[in-house]
């Protein structure tokens, strides 16, 4: 830093089901990245239970913060500011991190900097790509978000594409449940798809008239479910006379509850056509990747971006990375995405985003509240 003093941020993140803290130096160097994941607990319930998440956060938060300071080899005294996610997310979960961060900042006499969770995901790219600077185009894809964002500056974000219904990660979770892969859906679909045929089933890609950069995954999700249910009925008809009663009740009518498992542990979805779970997963994933990649490319070309970044949990998806890399190479674009550990919810990314907020002068008061539906680029205080 040319003799200038380093800036250390202690960051806290508790917006969903990861209790996390990190120490980040000068916005780009991660000195520690502590994550207590509750995923095993929530897997029992097939998804994140907000009250259970909040209870775990309060149990673990101090240990996580202390571990992050210890791993970074710094004391609280040496920290320059406290960064914390204050939205969007589960309100009860956010409140634990916000109250903890405020109390630490007050007691240790440090400035408090609230951070937008998704801006954190975007900032995760700065850790491993020291050369990356705005402006660039960023595809944010996670369990709760699917956004195409123009990053015009370190604190300037403009959403130009958004999902009209399900987030990409949500579609992964729902389809994974329907084919018996369970929760969390993203990594499981990714893994099983490697052995499946991505072109064997033609699932739809939504095109939204007048909104060229927007996404929709509910039609795709329904198409997959309808396909699964028709296969189930076909099997039931073929087995009639044996255990037809069972099959009749198991088969769901098309468009039935997306929370239902249509196939559980079966490897073969359509024995007649030789279609496996892996084939369905791979074909579904291909449809999602195709939509994400094509709209990102359309925006890049229309708006003249040559730097493309990805962020959020789904940015770890291997097919999305490969698909995006292929078209970026073809077009001569630079592509950036964080390591998987920085794609998942973590506090290091919050520390990165907090650093740029901090140096631009953002300071939050002791009345900082959790804002569960905080908009990207919005500054609530």
């Amino acid at each position: 830093m040319n003799g200038e003093k380093d800036t250390l941020i202690l960051a806290i993140e508790s917006s969903c089901d990861e209790t996390a803290a990190a120490v980040v130096k000068n916005g780009r160097e991660v000195l520690s990245n502590t994550i207590y994941s509750q995923i095993d607990l929530h897997t029992l319930y097939g998804g994140v239970v907000p009250e259970i998440a909040s209870r775990k956060h309060i149990e673990k938060i101090n240990q996580v913060v202390k571990t992050s300071l210890k791993d970074a080899g710094v004391t609280l005294d040496e920290i320059d500011a406290i960064g914390v996610t204050y939205g969007p997310g589960l309100v009860g979960a956010l409140l634990v991190g916000v109250a903890e961060a405020k109390a630490i900042a007050y007691a240790a006499n440090k400035p408090l900097v609230g951070v937008h969770h998704i801006e954190g995901h975007i900032a995760a790219n700065y850790v491993e790509h020291k050369e990356l600077e705005p402006p660039y185009l960023c595809l944010v894809v996670s369990g709760g978000h699917t956004h195409l964002v123009r990053v015009n500056g370190y604190s300037e974000y403009e959403i130009i594409g958004r999902t009209h219904d399900d987030a990409a990660g949500e579609a992964f979770d729902k389809v994974a449940r329907a084919i018996g892969l369970g929760y969390p859906g993203g990594p499981k679909v990714d893994k099983v798809s490697k052995t499946g045929r991505k072109d064997i089933l033609a699932f739809p890609r939504a095109h939204i008239e007048g909104c060229p950069y927007d996404f929709s995954f509910s039609g795709l999700k329904s198409a997959v479910l309808n396909y699964l249910n028709s296969c189930k009925m076909k099997q039931a008809a073929a087995n009639s006379g044996n255990d037809s009663d069972k099959d009749a009740t198991t088969a769901k009518k098309p468009g039935g509850s997306v929370y239902e498992t249509v196939f559980s542990g079966d490897d073969m979805i359509d024995p007649e056509q030789g279609i496996t779970v892996a084939d369905v997963a791979a074909s579904f994933q291909e449809a999602v990747v195709d939509a994400l990649v094509s709209k990102t490319m359309a925006a890049a070309k229309d708006l003249g971006y040559t730097k493309i970044a990805m962020a959020g949990g789904v940015a770890s998806n291997s097919a999305l990375r490969a698909g995006m890399r292929e078209v970026c190479e073809k077009n001569g674009y630079e592509l950036y995405y964080p390591s998987p550990i920085l794609c998942t919810d973590n506090a290091a990314m919050i520390g990165c985003a907090a650093y740029y907020e901090y140096i631009s002068g953002t300071r939050h008061g002791w009345d900082l509240n959790a804002v569960p539906n905080l908009k990207l680029g919005e500054r609530a205080y």
Binding site: I52, G92, V98, K102, A103, A107
Partner: protein
Amino acid sequence: MNILAIDSSGLTASVALQTDGKLTAEYTVNNKKTHSQTLLPMIEEIMRSEGLEPKDLDCIAVSAGPGSFTGLRIGSATAKGLGLALDIPVAEVSTLQALAYNLYGNEGCVICPIMDARRQEVYTGAYEFVRTDTDDKPAVYRLNTIIEEQAIPLKDMLSKLEETGRKVIFNGDGVPVYRELIAENFKTEYSFAPSTCLYQRAASVAAIGEQKLLNGDVISADAHTPIYLRKSQAEREMEA
């Protein structure tokens, strides 16, 4: 010894400072603002009014539950963050005992705080003040538990209270909600606490917290977690 007490378990947000047996400041609000917005500004305000720096604190006394799950966690996370940064312990004070303490010294009566727990239940317990030593002048009392804290239908609690055969004083945010139900069903002599003693007050949390600190009955801020008295809905449904 300087103790900062916090109660955000219910409708009120309340903070207090207690120094060597003396309540030096108390700040209680019962408004529509969320505890998340009010609590730390209130703490900063009373600390400043007493000329105290955070590092002057020796212990955080926190109303540890039962109560609103989210409210409890705001208080707990605040206590834990302060404890972590200042390296001081936390005294966990039962919210119901602190409510009972609002009615300190009512000898011979049963004190029954009731907090609306929704789902046709209340968080409640029953307490009495007994003299620590009959020769003490003036009398000094300690809080004794008659019925352990629990989440139960109010009618069940009323039956238990009737069995004691003693006069009962009710307080807590359940009083306005259940005033008529009590009037219709309760057969023993009773009264309702006045509004000054009705709701959670950090002064009571501070008083009990100080006793706990003097008795060494405190824990690390890391180990503190609220006492909910009730599992999450998802857990209850899974067990059902």
